[in-house]
Amino acid sequence: MMNPILEIKSVSKKFRIQHNAQPYLSMRDSITSVFKREKMTAEDFYALQDISFNVEQGESLAIIGKNGAGKSTLLKVLSRITPPSSGSIISRGNIASLLEVGTGFHPELNGRENIFLNGSILGMKRKEIQAKFDEIVDFSGTEKFLDTPLKHYSSGMQLRLAFSVAAFLEPEIMIIDEVLAVGDASFQKKCMGKMEDVSRSGRTILFVSHDLNAVSTLCKKAILLEGGKIKISGDTQDVVSSYLQSAGISSTWVQKKDISTPHFKSVDVKLKGEQPAHKLEISFEIQCTANMLPSFVAFDILDKMNTPLGQAIPVVEPFIRAGNEVRKYEVEIGLPAIIPGDYYIGVWMGPHYNETYDWQKECVEFSIVDSPQKNRTFQHTANHGYFVPESKLIQ
């Protein structure tokens, strides 16, 4: 029995989060902190916690999980960009990591020069690049622009060129982070085909993606990360379906402060159903008071940047009566076809649209993981909005 090509042994990655801190230090902060009584409040955050798994030679392994589950950190540790805080990794092959396509591309250099630069940064030898140069150019379909500076390329052309260089890498272990979402549909198809060739040629692939379709086609095995830990690992189909279920898991918020005015005590949201007809089941408790005015509630749906996407008001007239007690309600909100991603729900209550008793702006979270379009292999981006209107070709 051969040794596994990659052995990951209880790897953890800890970050120190400093509150109210800039992303980088300045000398002033370092110097003044010596004199300051109160230290900056810091908190340890585990992006990865005790991750262990093996990858066998020739295996394609998918790593899936929500945003912030630790997927990218794991890939960065594996590709030696950032060191683990504890644990170790044994690798028995050379690793090429594609955490981004076109790393090191320079806008002032022309296509030919960028192919050499990028290929070399990705770990190819100059001779190797020379030998594959024609194939790379051919695959990208940019031969007319080889002597044009990259800054004059369209963004689609830049991406195609970048992917083409990466596609001709021949490492024993290839680490790929969501880079397949490149270019137009026909180029996508070409890329997927190329990736399948690579995996069939006996090379080992680690593949991180949100795109469950691509994951299922490319990989037999998968790992589901959640909160920096491995939640489940095994057959891709099992892991994917477990992910789809877990993504609908309820998210709960509880008011911890003591408040004398009417307020939300707890909010719980469950995502039910599937695309394009998801339902949110929200149950919430309200602490009412004896002297409050009759009130009603509203629910905002927000994206990660806190941009409101829509508001649901189940009852448009005050229905919550005064009384010194906790009242419990349940509402159901129908969602339209919506792109995969993480969303927040904000809750509001008050007696009148311009008088507020309580407003929790980003109270609970839910995630949509699959695309509303069943056979779609390329990623959705928020640049084209959140809702996916139903469409069909008539003629």
């Binding site: 300045s26 030696r80 683990p84 090191g104 320079h106």
Partner: protein, 287 residues
């Protein structure tokens, strides 16, 4: 507690990634990635002169203009010039000074300006500051051709004597000393710049201050105070410039001063590489 990444080669192509504490220059790994030196250097040279009308002429034009100004100022104040024509005296200093100045400026900013690559791909990080020094050496070659022309002119017209053997010997030695200290200080600044962005402002300031503390415009033997000479000798460039100039001028070498300067150059190299290697694992997290 300091951890950093150490790649332990267990067998051929088998290695372990773990937090580790031992330090080395990582020569073996640098050698494996040798082609990247070429590509980074080539990229920086290409980009430096893209879309410029004068192109490579810029590399020569700047020191020539500096030479004219320094010669004018030097003559006006009658600064000693070690018995050789002043333009030659000034230019020979500027030649090595420019390696140092552009080397530490580029190397010092190199980690921050290549942050996008550092965050996405692994390679020995030292390649980046080393390439910056190589770019400075490329510019040196351009300025050196002008120097050779001057040297020949003054020799043929009988204004100087050249110790040819000494010159051939001292030229690589002084380039080596300059490169060593440039690389040391450059990688120190590069690592510090990742952590403390203050160094963005420190570097240009340092370069302009150091120019006046280096024996470019004046010989340090011109100083009236002995202690001042020792202080000036702390400058790693002193030994490089002094060793170089002595082969075509009638200045005498002060061996102790040269040794002090050599020690300081070695110290910069060791300290710079040590600090860089110590902090490099976290560049991707901080850059």
């Amino acid at each position: 507690m300091q951890f950093w990444l150490k790649t332990v080669y267990l067998l051929y192509m088998e290695y372990e990634i773990k937090p580790h504490e031992k330090l080395s220059l990582g020569i073996k790994e640098l050698w494996q990635y040798r082609e990247l030196f070429f590509f980074f250097t080539w990229r920086d040279i290409k980009i430096k002169y893209k879309q410029t009308v004068l192109g490579f002429a810029w590399a020569v034009l700047q020191p020539i203009i500096m030479m004219l100004i320094f010669s004018a100022v030097g003559s006006a104040f009658n600064i000693p010039k070690a018995g050789i024509p002043r333009p030659l005296f000034v230019y020979s200093g500027l030649l090595l000074w420019n390696i140092f100045a552009s080397g530490i400026t580029n190397a010092g900013n190199s980690m921050v300006s290549n942050a996008n690559i550092i965050k996405k791909i692994y390679f020995p990080r030292l390649i980046i500051p080393i390439s910056s020094v190589l770019v400075a050496l490329f510019d040196f070659i351009m300025t050196f051709t002008v120097f050779i022309a001057m040297l020949i002119y003054y020799f043929v017209t009988g204004q100087i004597h050249i110790d040819i053997v000494g010159f051939m010997l001292m030229l690589p030695v002084s380039i080596f000393i300059t490169s060593l200290s440039t690389f040391g200080l450059g990688s120190l600044l590069a690592a510090l710049n990742v952590k403390y962005r203050d160094f963005r402002y420190v570097i240009p300031f340092m370069v302009s201050v150091l120019l006046f503390l280096s024996p470019v415009m004046y010989p340090i033997s011109g100083s009236h105070f002995v202690w001042a000479k020792y202080l000036f000798a702390l400058n790693p460039l002193y030994s490089a410039i002094a060793l170089f100039r002595t082969t075509f001028s009638d200045s005498t070498l002060h061996i102790y001063l040269v040794l002090i300067s050599l020690a300081s150059s070695l110290f910069l190299f060791v300290a710079g590489v040590f600090y860089f290697r110590k902090t490099e694992a976290y560049f991707a997290d901080m850059a």
